[in-house]
Structures are given as C-alpha cells and as structure tokens.
C-alpha cells in the first residue's frame, strides 16, 4: 500500500487546490471525497434529463490569480480571457435595464450622463479601497500572539498601501470601511437600479441587508476578487463550474494526487494530541503525517475529531461560529430561452440581477431576521446554456439563479415553505420575463437545508461561516486559530471557513498548503 504524507479530507475546490499545491511540493497526497464526484458545490451536475448546471456557484469572479498560475490552470483548459467577461444587467420594471459591461462596469449603459460620471468615480473608489484589502486574501491573517517578521512586513505593506492613498483618501477609506452599503450608495449615486445591484452584490451570501452596519465589506470582498487580471470581472465558465474543477483536477493528477470518491471520512485519528490519520466510514484507517481538513471547521472539530481533544474555550468559539445560510439555488429546465424585457442578446448571456433598489433588497432581507423567506426575493440569474449549448437539449435552456433571502432555519420549516418560496420566486421571474412560467419543464429549488444535506455545508452556507467583520481575518474561523493550523498538531483547516472565506477562489486551500509547506508539515 502507498503511504501518504498528507491526507486532504474533502474534495471541494479548496481541498483540491490544497492537495495539488502540496503534491507539487513533492508530498504524496490523498484526497478523500464523500460524494461520488469531487468538486463540492462547484460541480456541474445534471438536474433534469439533458440539463446540466453549476451546482451552487455559477459565476467565476474570484479565482485567485496565484491559484491560476501555481496550478497552470489556463494550460489545463480554463479560459479566463477578457473576451469571456460577461456583463451584469440590473433589471427594472420601470424602464430599460442598466448594464455594467467589462470588469464590473468599466462601461455603463442605460444611465444618464451624470449617472455615468458618478459611477465612474464610485467604481474607481471602490476598486481602490478593495485593492487595499486584496493582498490580505492570499496570506495568513497576522498572528497577533507572535508576529513573525513576514507577518509584520506584510502588515507594513498594507499600511504602506493605505498611506499611498493620500491623506484625504485614507481618511475616507477608514470612514467608510465599516459603513452600510446603502448609506454609501446614497452619498454618491442616484440611480436606483445601480444602487440596487450594488446593494445586492454587497449582501449576497450573508445575513445582512444593505442597511445593516458593515454591509459594505461584502462589496469589497467581491471586488477584491479578479478574473484575468481585472478586478470585479466575472465569467460563466464553459461547461459550468465543473470546468474549473476539471482544470484543478488535471493539475492535481499531474502533481500525483490520488483521489478517492465515495469515501467519507468518519474520524480523524488523534494520538497524544497529534493527528496521525483518518478512519473511513468503512473502518479502514489511513495514516499520514499531515491531515488537511477542507470541509467545514465545525464539522471537523465536532464530528471528525470530537470535542474531547480540544480545550473548552476553543470548543466554545467553534460552537459560536454563525453559519446559517440565507441563499437558495434555483435550477430551471426551460423549453426555450426566456426573454427578459428590454435585455439584448449579450445581456442574456450575462448576469441578470433582480434587485431594483436598495429598499427592495432591504425589504427582502427583513423577514429573514424572523425566520421567514422574502415574499419578493432578490436574485442573480444566469442562462449558461446560451453560451454553452452542451448544457441543455437543442432549443431548450437552463436557468440558474442564486436567490435571497431564504433563511436556513425557516420558522415554518422548508417542507412546507419550499413550495411557497418557489412560487414567490416564479412570480418575480414572471414580472421580468413574462411567459417564463409556462416554459418550465423542471424546477429544482435548493434551500439552505437542501444545500446542507447535499453538499455537507452546515447551515447551507457557502462561506462555511458568515463572512462579516467579526468572522473575518484574525477571527476566521475563530480568534487565535486563523492561520490554518489547529490546536491539534498536524491538523490543518483549508476550507472556506478559514480566511479569506468562500466563493470559488481557492485562496483558503492555497494559503493552507503554503502554511503546511512553510511549517514543513
């Protein structure tokens, strides 16, 4: 039997990135995936006969450039050229939509001349400020208890970048950092469609409304991502998100990674405070010097290791990680492509956003605070089969939408709430694309409860822990243990629950692998 240097638990994209990077460093790496396929929530799956769709993540907007270059993903078939960038379309019932072209609205159409100017200024400012935070994504959060020279140097770089902004801009950066996105938008914009889109983007994937304090951070997080070197740019990968996974898999295989699917880990074996292997559900035990858990941090601690091996204070912190999701995924198999009113052909191939104003997003958020779904949900829609006909039968169309707000702990329960929520979503779609309802051949609505069960994401949260100020950087996943290592020697965390967070970035996986290599683990 082959012996492994490292075992990666969880074959989601972060697990695969981690495995590939570790393997490239000369380690013999095994990936254990519970499902029949690797890729986690970034797979391309068939949801109706002949219809395939990206599982949960459907837009690529933050795959980290270091991941792309380290794993040579472009050589392995991933296309992230500027020509692949798709626009964002802010839909409106009051008139024509607003379209953000290129990388997050380099060109804006459908706005007034003053609106154009205001956007140009705000966009530049947002990217400038997001750029300050960007370098923090690809490294360990600073270790406050014992700052290494490297930590200090990298923090120094951030300070320097801040200084470079100039006095006025630096003050403004600090002023707005923890603001709510709605207030900032009101300061600088007047177009409700544009403000609605930005409010939506800022709060997508978190339990925040545009008027919740710190909601602007979500927009920075998004804009700190880039594609093809352009900040904020988004791509609909050909073949769905599974194509990204395939490229990472090729890199992993080339580096010599072994993966085993349908192989759930039952337990991480700890001996004398050190992780020494993984016990499988089948009873088989595999040993390795380093165990990398690329699954949820709470699952790792409570289910795989067990609370006995940790100190109570640590358990308390892990227990308190907030990770109840608010986003649902809707996959529709349609007889024919829908027609969104006022949107041109290029727009249909992009991202269509129903979030007509910040007020609308806020009103959609309100019920979720009390365990109810939005009666008029907000959503981002893609029609991936328009650009990639392999995803749907001839003439038919796939609609993929991420919909908010769908609280994980729905008070009435999702068994009875699901149908009602689907009706609410369809009513919204019908408003913007009249006649779409009649063309639905099959509808699959994944509530956070479904996402939890299907993708093993507790709370159905794609960040594996709310991505808010108190659960970012040094506090992610928990304060004191943000550097990918854990209280158990030889056990590392590499999933979205670790810094910087979720989305198809590969950054947590990359950072964790770098940490392990640096520690000679």
């Amino acid at each position: 039997m082959t012996s492994f240097d490292a075992i990666v638990v969880g074959g989601g994209h972060n697990g695969l990135v981690s495995a590939a990077v570790l393997a490239k460093s000369g380690r013999n790496v095994l990936v254990l995936e519970a499902a029949g396929d690797v890729g986690g929530a970034a797979r391309t799956e068939e949801f109706a006969p002949g219809f395939r769709v990206s599982s949960i993540a459907h837009l690529l907007n933050r795959l980290h450039p270091d991941v792309v270059t380290t794993l040579e993903l472009e050589k392995h078939g991933l296309q992230i050229a500027r020509s692949a960038f798709v626009p964002s379309v802010a839909l409106s019932t009051d008139g024509p939509p607003l379209v953000l072209h290129g990388a997050y609205g380099e060109v804006l159409t459908g706005a007034s001349p003053t609106g154009q100017t205001a956007w140009k200024d705000l966009r530049a400012q947002l990217l400038r400020y997001a750029g300050i935070l960007k370098p923090l994504l690809a490294r360990r959060p600073p270790d406050l208890s014992g700052m290494s020279l490297l930590d200090t140097a990298s923090l120094g770089q951030t300070a320097l970048a801040l200084k470079k902004l100039g006095k006025e801009d630096m003050r403004d950066f600090l002023r707005v950092l923890l603001m709510n996105v709605a207030d900032l938008l009101d300061e600088q914009l007047s177009d409700d469609r544009l403000k609605g889109l930005l409010a939506f983007d800022a709060t997508l994937g978190s339990h925040l409304g545009p008027r919740s304090p710190t909601s602007l951070l979500g927009l920075y997080y998004r804009l700190a991502g880039e594609s093809g070197g352009a900040a904020g740019a988004q791509i609909l990968p050909k073949g769905g998100m599974g194509a990204v996974i395939s490229a990472i898999c090729v890199a992993a295989e080339k580096a010599g990674v072994t993966s085993r699917t349908n192989t759930p880990a039952a337990r991480i074996i700890v001996e004398k405070g050190r992780a020494v292997g993984v016990a499988l559900a089948s009873g088989e035990e595999i040993r390795a010097r380093t165990i990398v858990s690329a699954i949820n941090p709470a699952t790792t601690v409570f289910d795989l290791v067990g609370p006995l091996e940790f100190d109570t204070g640590f358990i308390r912190k892990v227990k308190n990680i907030r990770m109840n999701g608010d986003a649902a995924k809707l996959n529709l198999a349609l007889d024919r492509p829908p027609q969104f009113a006022g949107v041109d052909a290029a727009g249909h191939k992009g991202r269509l956003v129903i979030a007509p104003s910040p007020d609308h997003v806020e009103r959609a958020f309100n019920p979720s605070k009390y365990g109810e779904f939005s009666p008029e949900p907000v959503m981002e829609i893609t029609l991936p089969s328009l650009a990639d006909s392999s995803l749907a039968p001839d003439g038919a169309c796939v609609l993929s939408a991420v919909v908010q707000y769908a609280p994980y702990a729905l008070r009435e329960g999702w068994a009875s709430g699901r149908g009602k929520f689907l009706n609410a979503i369809m009513a919204q779609l019908e408003t913007y694309a009249p006649g779409i309802g009649k063309t639905v051949r099959h509808a699959e609505l994944l509530t956070p409860a479904d996402i939890e069960a299907r993708y093993r994401m507790p709370g159905g949260h794609w960040h594996h822990g709310e991505l808010q100020a108190d659960q970012m950087l040094m506090s992610r996943p928990v304060a004191g243990w943000s550097g990918y290592d854990t209280p158990i020697d030889g056990l590392f965390l590499a999933g979205a629950g670790s810094h910087p967070g979720g989305g198809v970035s590969g950054a947590p996986g990359l950072n964790a692998a770098r940490r392990i290599i640096a520690m000679k683990g």
Partner: protein, 416 residues
Amino acid sequence: MNQQPAIAPSTARAAAQSHFRTLRPGTPFQPRIDALARTNDWYNWAGYRAPHSLWDEELEYFAIRSQAALFDISPMTKYRVEGPDAEAFLNRITLRDVAKLKPGRVHYTAWCDDEGFVLDDGTLFRLSPTRFRLCSQERHLPWLLDSAIGFEVIVEEETEAVAGLALQGPTSFAVLRDAGFADVERLKIFDIAEFPHDGSSQGTSRVTISRTGFTGDLGYELFVPAEHALSLWDRLMLAGELRGIRAIGYAALNRARLEAGLIVANADFVTAVHAVRPNRLRMPDEIGLGFMIDFDKGHFNGRRAIVSARAKKRLRHVLVGLEIEGNIPAEHAMVYYRKSQEVGLVSAAMWSPMAKRNIAIASLARPFGDTIVDDLWVEIYAMRELQYQKLMKRAKVVPRPFIKLDRRTANPPADF
C-alpha cells in the same frame, strides 16, 4: 427568537423578581447560626451571609484544634455531574486522573482554561461510578456546560439544594459516633459513605459523610438535602455537647487551613476569570498544584499550554511556604532578596500556635523561591499607635504543611 416569554400579570411578575429584596441570603443553617452569632461579624461568601466569627475568633480556632468545630460550608458551590461519560468529562476538565478516583473517594483537584491558567480549585467526590459532586469556590456552570458538549453527562448546580457542614477537630469522630452514625470509624481519609438520618418531623433522609476537611486535622464533611439541614445540626450539637462542639466562623478556619498549608482561591492566587491584569494569571505549577497534572490520561483543558510553558520554561511564579523570624504576622508583606530586590508578596500569614512558628504563604517571582531560596526577607509594616514600624525579617522557605497531625489520618480515628 425575538419573542419575549409571555409575562404574567404584575403581581406574579413582582413575586418572581422578589429575590432582590434579600440582598444576601442565608444558608439552610441560618436560624441556628443567627442564634449563636454574638459578634454579628458577617462576610460575603459566594453571595451568602456567612459568619466571619461567632463569639471569639481565637477560641473558635482552638475549638478546631482541641475540641470539635462545626462550620457551615453550604455556600460552597456544588455541582452534580452524572452520566455514563461523567468520568471522561471530568478528566477533560480537571488536572488529575479521575479514573484513579474510586467510587466512595474524594480528591482535591483544580481546573484550567485553554491557556493553562487556573480557573479554580476544589474537591471532587465520586459518589458512584457515574455520579460525582464537584465543589468549588466560584461558579462555573456555563463553563461546565460548554465543556459537556459531546459527552453524555448531566451537569447541574446543587448549591442551594444541598446543605453542607464541616465537623473538624480531635473529637469530631467521637461526636459522629455518639450521634449514632454507625461504622463511621471505617472512613479512612478521603473516604465517603452514606448514612441514614432521621429528622423526625422533617422525615428520614440520608447524609453523605466524607473524611475530609480544610484544617489539616481529624475531621469530616457532611452533606444533606437542605430541608434536613436543621435536624442534622441539632443532632450533632446534641451529641457533641460533652465533646466541646462549637460553631465557628471563617476567621478560625482560615488559620487552621494556613497551618495545614492549604491555599484559597482569590486569596493566595487570583482565578483566571477574575484576574484583570495579565501577570496575575497562574498556571498550576505556579501555585503549587503542579503535582496534580497527569499527562498520561489524555487531553485535558490547558494541557497544550502547560506542556509548552514547562518546555519553554515560561513558568514565572512559585508559591512557597515561609517561616519568618519573630512572632509578628507578615500578612501581605513584601518579600525581598538581599533586603533590596522585591521578589514577591505574602498572601497569608500568622503566628501558628500549633507549630510555634511564624508562618506564611507567599508568591515569588522565579527563580526566587525556586532555585534561589537563601537571603530572602520580608518587610513587615507593624502598626504601632498610628505609626508603622518597619521590620525586615529573615524568611526561610519551608515545606508545607506547616503542621502534621497524626490524628488526621489515624485509623481507626482516635476517641478523644
């Protein structure tokens, strides 16, 4: 979620909130103690009104050493820990190996936070294979409940439900025997047993007696359901009349415990949750509890931190017993090296009538008290009619306990 519990009409609400009218509640023994309290010298023990002295501090102390002293320990925080995982749970929390604690036995232990700093010390009673009573100085329920995640165990506070008495002193065994606790002589030190108790009007009950105490003397601790507290008190007082039984307050006990070399949380060290200043936190090794640590038993709270502190020699303090020349108690005196360099502080001190020595417990900054034990001095500020007389007295590091009484452990216990 955001709903308030339904609030009943205002009279019911007022009744439910009336606890604040009793600012400092009494214990189940309060009627008897109040009747004996001639000095009216009360202090606050964990929120309870407890006697500092009852009639004469000095004589109360001598009741411990030459008669039998009855001390109400009901305010001590008590937790019931029960379930198939109780042993594993307690092993994870506390420093000692609970697997080595047999049913019917007690041990003194301590527990730490993640950083290895002592949260509290206390006694752990193993009442059955799956049932324990953890007694402590402070309250820890949220900590215990969070520690219980993943264990099949129930943790319940029973401080109010269970009344406790310490019966200490040379005649304590005879008092128990005369009170009709048959076979109590079989209890060896740290043994526990249950005895029937007929409280007549209050019905029958059982009393748990352990041969334990905080005095370094022959003595027992008795636990009984709160409703049987008074009949138990009366039973002991009646049986002990000719054996010189006396109720005592904390001042007397505090002297006895110092002679026995025992430490008190928040007097000789600051517990981790109370310490505001970071350099007040203490690891077990820094307060003389290092002997409890058992690395062979698997993981326990603070283990990694303690291993690392020992390996990196990051233990900064040491708790020592001192013998000081002269007879002036050195309470809270500074400790000096070569009469000039400040190296620590005395946390408890007295002239010991039993040891006939001037004794103290002090916290010193290592290496003083650890590898450097010579040329240590204490500076005593003796108040003499509104003027301090500064006394620089030589101090010698000596082992604790300061007194060792054979009767404490003698089997069978002597009949004085």
